[in-house]
Amino acid sequence: MNAIAGSNAVKIRARGVTKRFAVRRRADVIAVDGVDLDVEENELLAIVGPSGCGKSTFLYMVGGFLEVSEGEILVDGRRVTGPGTDRGIVFQHFALFPWLTVRENILYGLRERKVAEAEREATTAELIALIGLRGFEDVYPKQLSGGMKQRVAIARTLAIDPEILLMDEPFGALDAQTRTVMQDELLRIWNQRKKTVLFVTHDVHEAVRLADRVVVMTARPGRIKAIIDAREAHAPDAANVRESPEIARKVNEIWEHLRDEVALAQRQEAVSSSGRGG
């Protein structure tokens, strides 16, 4: 388990990161427990784990939205104390501004950063084309499907071109075809602009196909169970290979780690819901 990276520059460093939530009249919930992780510069790192194991919570701490209870998170060697435009985030439930149109949502960060108008408009138009929503520029989020909202959320974050992309199941709401297209887009953008990407997914196959390394988390409290190097499964022209024996082998390997944890998480779920009932 080489959670600690070797030669390359470390972009995100987590040391003993723990998150406890105080719950009224119950023991604290430990969502994340002592996570040590180094994400290298320009690495694409996937996190998989059973539902409720603390994946989102970990992402929020890297984003600076939640404070760590113990340990520390460093970005470029500096301790994270709050959100910043160096770290863009795509939330699991999109969080688009409902009072802004598709175009205005994507423009939002550019306006906040006072980007010149011509550049702003060009970037927005380019992104709208990228996410395939031309013709929907002036539509409000309420009129979009889940998959369309998700694409707008991705474009809104890409617009300000952050060095780090934090993505919480960014393709979860997409249908199979759009999902593949967007995965390829992510790879293309990542190849082009060299970003450090930390993304959570439920889709092990997606994790293997996209990520350099895949972090498998345990059921709650979330710890790192294994880190699997997926690079060896990538063909030189990875974007064009969807199925290969190497990928299938990696997927199986990850499932071996994941199976028990998913079962455990389900038992936890059953216990806590019967506890609530009684």
Binding site: Y60, G63, F65, G82, P83, G84, T85, R87, G88, I89, F91, H93, A95, L96, F97, P98, W99, L100, T101, Y108, G109, E112, R113, G135, F136, V139, Y140, P141, K142, Q143, L144, S145, M148, R156, T157, I160
Partner: protein, 270 residues
């Protein structure tokens, strides 16, 4: 996908023809008709319950004598003034409470206590402070309407979805701009609901204070007519006040639909 979302919009446009929105009028017409018949056939005493047609005649007569419109105008202006003042005070205080701990600490108990207090009972004091004319009426009504509006605004600005705030932070919005860029906008639907709830309160209170003080205004007109047992004029006054209130409520609904085009609740024809 594109075609789908667009056709979805056009079908919704066709769903509710606008005349259906006025279906509510039928029940009113029915009641008026029954009332007319009951009164004409002396099923109810026409002295105590004059027929609607007589009220129309009375309304026309009063209008021609210049006895109705000035009263309606005075009531309308006072109510609108009180509503606007209550919005200015209520919304800013509500936002301040949600944002500033000290303001919340000071006002929260006062608002909680004041909300169920019968503000009209302060009328004698308002008269002593502001006299018998417009000011006392408008200020008392403002005062009474501010309470529900403060608490609506406070709750709306306090409970903004944290993911919206986080998104804005990650996109570069600082703590200070957050209020205007996100918090206020996210709270607008609930603030508007608060404003819409105070409209009927405002009319009730203005008419009440007019009844208590004489002078110009529908309330005073009603009180005076009552003393002369002039029931048609009383009823014309009551109906006049309802019509004013109704018109302002509809105006509120219209403005809401204009402001909230982006909101789930707004269908496109509205």
């Amino acid at each position: 996908m594109a075609a789908n979302a667009l056709s979805d919009r056009t079908t919704r446009q066709r769903e509710t023809p606008s005349w259906l929105a006025y279906r509510a009028v039928y029940s009113v017409v029915l009641v008026l008709l029954a009332w007319e018949i009951a009164s004409r056939t002396a099923l109810i005493n026409p002295f105590f319950m004059p027929a609607p047609s007589l009220l129309v005649v009375q309304a026309v007569k009063l209008t021609l004598q210049g006895e109705l419109l000035p009263h309606m105008g005075a009531t309308l202006l006072r109510a609108l003034g009180a509503i606007l003042l209550a919005i200015a005070i209520g919304v800013s205080l509500g936002i301040a409470m949600a944002r500033i701990a000290a303001v919340r600490w000071f006002f929260d108990p006062l608002i909680s206590l004041g909300l169920p207090t019968p503000k009209i009972a302060l009328w004698p004091i308002f008269v002593l402070w502001f006299g018998f004319h417009d000011q006392s009426k408008i200020y008392l009504t403002t005062f009474a309407c501010a309470f529900p509006l403060v608490s609506a605004t406070y709750l709306a600005t306090r409970d903004v979805d944290r993911y919206l705030l986080w998104s804005a932070r990650a996109l570069g919005t600082g703590e200070r701009r957050m209020l205007w860029k996100v918090i206020f906008r996210a709270a607008v639907p609930d603030i508007l609901t608060g404003i819409q709830t105070i409209i009927p309160f405002a009319f009730i209170l203005i008419v009440l204070t007019e009844m208590l003080s004489g002078g110009i205004g529908l309330g005073s007109m009603i009180m005076l007519a009552g003393r002369l047992a002039d029931i048609p004029t009383v009823l014309v006054g009551v109906i006049g006040a309802s019509i004013l209130g109704f018109a302002v409520i509809r105006l509120g609904e219209y403005l809401r639909a204009r402001v909230l085009v982006w909101h789930e609740e707004t269908t496109d024809h509205a």
